[in-house]
Symmetry: C2
Subunit: 121 residues, 2 copies
């Protein structure tokens, strides 16, 4: 496993949130789990741009940060279900707020993002 070489900053609320939400797919994972897509294969289908591998890794981190719980059913083929913890649920409104802001400003955001990319080349 990758081992950190520097300690994270944990000075303020933003640092702390960053520590648990910073990860390309984490907010989407929480969101889709909330929406009822609880099995890894379903989550993968909802987020096809991510690889199975990275979803596993980020799910594990979410679990270690107590935002989700993982239930393993002892059946074959294997069945696993993730759920939000009570703690995790309290994050949903915040993720909503972010997503809504993005949706409300979709056109403008798309435009400034693409402009920046073009000027980069």
């Amino acid at each position: 496993m990758y081992e950190r070489k520097t300690l994270p900053n944990l000075n303020c609320g933003l640092d702390l949130v960053g520590e648990v939400l910073y990860g390309k797919w984490k907010m989407r994972l929480l969101w889709f789990i909330k929406e009822g897509h609880q099995r890894p294969s379903e989550l993968q289908r909802q987020i096809p741009d991510a690889t199975r591998r990275v979803l596993n890794i980020q799910l594990k981190e979410l679990e270690e940060h107590e935002l989700v719980t993982k239930k393993i059913y002892p059946v074959v083929p294997p069945k696993v279900e993730y759920s939000l913890t009570e703690f995790g649920k309290t994050l949903i409104p915040v993720i909503s707020a972010l997503g809504n802001w993005g949706d409300e400003n979709e056109d403008r955001l798309r435009s400034v993002i693409l402009n920046r990319l073009k000027s980069e080349v």
Copy 2:
């Protein structure tokens, strides 16, 4: 300058927000600018854990994404001031929501984060 090799996902609101806010210090920069710390040297003092260099880079991205404007005063020694754009101001409540969630859950977050780090070693 670093040149991206893969295009970002811009499918949903969360993707779009991520594109403009994903950067270790960006939310903090927006926050402190809002608080009235507008000169680069002040921002650096508010965020001592970041290097001057990375703050410059991220400020430039925020500017290109039209969340802040940069005003250069033609004086010596140089004077520069950043301000939130109207667009940038609309992000403040969202950043607040994140920061507040972090503050409200400070103890628990600190605990789960540190636990995870310990088990990593």
